[in-house]
């Protein structure tokens, strides 16, 4: 399906929509600019619909289970006050008088968003960021999007018809490079969410001079120092509830120790905590079954793919722990199957440096007295977020995105000399 000019069209209209866009974009860009206030009004109205339950049927129909809870959790971040604060924090100070005259903040122009499929609502969110900065947004939908984004766009343009010329969505597969290339040719900036494959593919399609804004896959981990007696249940709940699928999901639990036996003790102690979290999280038999299958698959892959390794396996019900002897940060088996490794604090910087540019969140659990030292080490190693283990995937108001303020990437600063 395609979304263009406020309505949903069949995929067969792609050619017509693309040709029309090529003609219309310059006209839209030449028209009156899209004011942030208009977008804020529309997003607020959409937020109200969400709060009063008017969007529940849409969510039930199109979003995966759990999306409603997810939305409730991020709801404060998409409220009017939070967005106004963000605009102020991220763009405030960029414009204003300068010794030579003045600086103005202008939208980049046309943004092509290659939206991610691992979290419902993100395609709409990335487009909203583009709208807030006054851009025209072309969204390439992820494969798993069952219609939620299209429905949200339609609702948004119903609430504020002035947004119609600024929102487009295309359900074109990644391998259709011809159509993607045509969209890329229209763009002033390409916002790519996804793995290295998606990022490189879009780099190839981007015309020279097009700004590349890449929210690539990141790896996150927990760092535990002196955890004896600490409550590990929040970490367990985080691991199970995100399934390891988010950039902020814990892939490896690093232990501040040199001793393998300490690692073994930890696994024996943590496995029941993880199992308990899994039992509580997988509510339906179907979800539990899926998790049990993944745990079984993990056990088999440990045997087959890591034959000859001396990994220590700790299989549990619907989850598992694998204690590996190296200290590299790497992707876990996902779905509640997590890796445990030793990483003495002296090794943090040399080890994590090898993954620079990929690091995101560290969930830190340590005694109060060690907190500052470990925080500084992790930050210097290249970690961009340091949180409590249970909050690794929480979103905090006014936080940066992978070390950057996104709205700044979606605008240009125009310097104007006063008299010439």
């Amino acid at each position: 399906m395609i979304f263009a000019n406020g309505s949903i069209l069949p995929d067969s209209e792609l050619e017509v929509v693309l040709s029309r866009l090529e003609e219309e974009l310059p006209q839209i860009l030449g028209g009156p600019p899209l004011e942030a206030a208009t977008v804020l009004d529309a997003l607020e109205a959409l937020g109200n619909e969400l709060d009063n339950g008017a969007l529940d049927p849409l969510i039930a129909q199109f979003a995966p289970p759990g999306a409603r809870e997810e939305l409730d959790r991020v709801r404060p971040q998409i409220g009017r006050a939070a967005l106004e604060e963000r605009l102020d924090l991220e763009l405030g100070g960029l414009s204003g008088p300068r010794p030579f005259g003045r600086a103005e903040v202008r939208p980049l122009g046309v943004l092509l968003h290659v939206a991610p499929g691992n979290m419902a609502g993100l395609p709409a969110f990335t487009a909203a960021e583009g709208l807030l900065t006054g851009n025209i947004n072309l969204v390439k939908l992820p494969r798993g999007d069952k219609g939620l984004t299209l429905a949200v766009f339609q609702k948004l343009t119903e609430l504020e018809p002035d947004l119609s010329p600024y929102l487009y969505a295309f359900d074109i597969p990644s391998k259709d490079t011809a159509s993607l290339g045509r969209l890329a040719a229209l763009a002033d900036g390409i916002v790519t969410w996804g793995g290295d494959g998606a990022v490189s593919a879009m780099r190839e399609l981007a015309p020279a001079g097009c700004r590349l804004i890449e929210w690539g896959h990141r790896l996150s981990f927990a760092y535990l120092s002196d955890w004896e007696g600490a409550d590990l249940s929040a970490l367990a709940e985080h691991i199970v509830s995100t399934g390891g699928l988010l950039c902020s999901s814990c892939q490896v639990i690093f232990l501040d120790t040199e001793y393998l036996s300490v690692g073994e003790q930890f696994c024996k102690k943590f496995l029941p905590v993880l199992e308990k979290a899994a039992m509580a999280h997988y509510k339906t038999p179907g979800q539990a079954a899926q998790a049990a299958l993944y745990a079984r698959e993990t056990a088999l892959e440990q045997v087959v793919d890591r034959a000859g390794s001396d990994d220590l396996n700790f299989p549990g019900q619907c989850c598992s722990l694998t204690l590996r002897r190296d200290c590299e940060l790497e992707l876990s088996h996902l779905h509640g199957n997590v890796l445990v490794k030793r990483l003495p604090r002296g090794e943090i910087i040399p080890t994590l440096r090898r993954q620079r540019g990929r690091l995101q969140t560290a969930g830190l659990l340590c005694p109060e007295g060690a907190r500052e030292e470990l925080t500084a080490l992790l930050a210097r190693a290249g970690v961009n977020r340091i949180t409590a283990p249970g909050h690794m995937s929480h979103t905090f108001p006014l936080e940066a995105h992978d070390g950057e303020y996104p709205l700044r990437r979606y605008v240009r600063v125009v310097d104007v000399e006063n008299k010439f």
Binding site: G195, G286, R296, E297, H333, H335
Partner: protein
Amino acid sequence: MLSRQKLFWLSRVYDLPGSDKRFLRAVRDNCAYHIKHCPEYRTICKAEGFSPDQVKTIDDLAKLPLLPTLFFKRHHVSSMPGWRTPMKVTSSGTSGSFSRVSFDWGCIFAEIPMVLRLGFYHRLVSPVPARYVILGYKPGKQDKMGVARTMFGLTHFAPPVGRFYALRWKDGGYVPDLDGAVKTLARWAHSPLPVRVVAFPSYLWFGMERLEELGLSVKLPKGSKILLAGGWKQHYAQEVDKNTLYALAKRVLGVEEENIHEFFGAVEHPVFFNSCKNHHFHIPAYARVIIRDVRTLAPLPMGEVGLVNLITPLINATPVTSVMTDDLGYLTPGEECGCGLTVPYLTILGRAGLNDITTCAAGAAELLNQTGAQ
């Protein structure tokens, strides 16, 4: 490997107790073969402390190393070199990854009597030529999808004099032509030859709804049948009550409920499960089914809902002896069916956690590709 042929050439297709001994022997030989020829399977058996001689009774089948279908999607394992496997089949792989299962000559030699005997038993075999409308894929060189082959195979129970495919390969993709199928059905309804509609249940449903929408109804010639294979696939959300489907088939195609047959099977478990006259899948002598607890994977007693574990010694080329599907289901004592068969029957409730895996699996696959790991 004669133990396998002895099992599959059995004439009493639903005699489970009578076939137990042959089944166990064939499973032991099958396992021993995979252990000898498939390094991955050997490693798994070693890690789990399993050896074929542990399978002495039917209950011991639960000890077989349990491989989830996901394993076959991520590992294209084999117990035979490619030149010894005349047929390679893949699952439809809706989420982008698919299982690849190779078939050996011995397997094909064992399948033929199984399919023929079950076909005769369920009165699918007929000398009267028939025309086939296939609401499914047209098999071709471009793909090796198991269900396309199954559907093609189903067009041989009665001598085929014409085939119409609703999904055809065109410019690198399948193109549906439901309207063409509807027109063909209407045309063939006037001929004296029976028509057999071979279909994915979802396509049959959409096709019949289309007929009804157009205000059309036909009465297919006497002896016409509807053969359903391949499950509901990506259309689970629209899965309809079976009785509604049967009523619609009678209304718009004039096919009685007793002439609607369903089949169940998987690329990783190509045993030919047939529905009885009460639409139940009784377990044939060539397979055994264990229902397992969704959390512990331990075997469950009759009647309890769990993951469906399918066991057969059919294939030597790929170690699919004991496969864990991601279907949830349960077993019921055969006597409760009323069709006359006393062996238990399998009811499939649907795919486990289907909704929550589509997005995750897509994301995970991407993540896995990204690191090049696993």
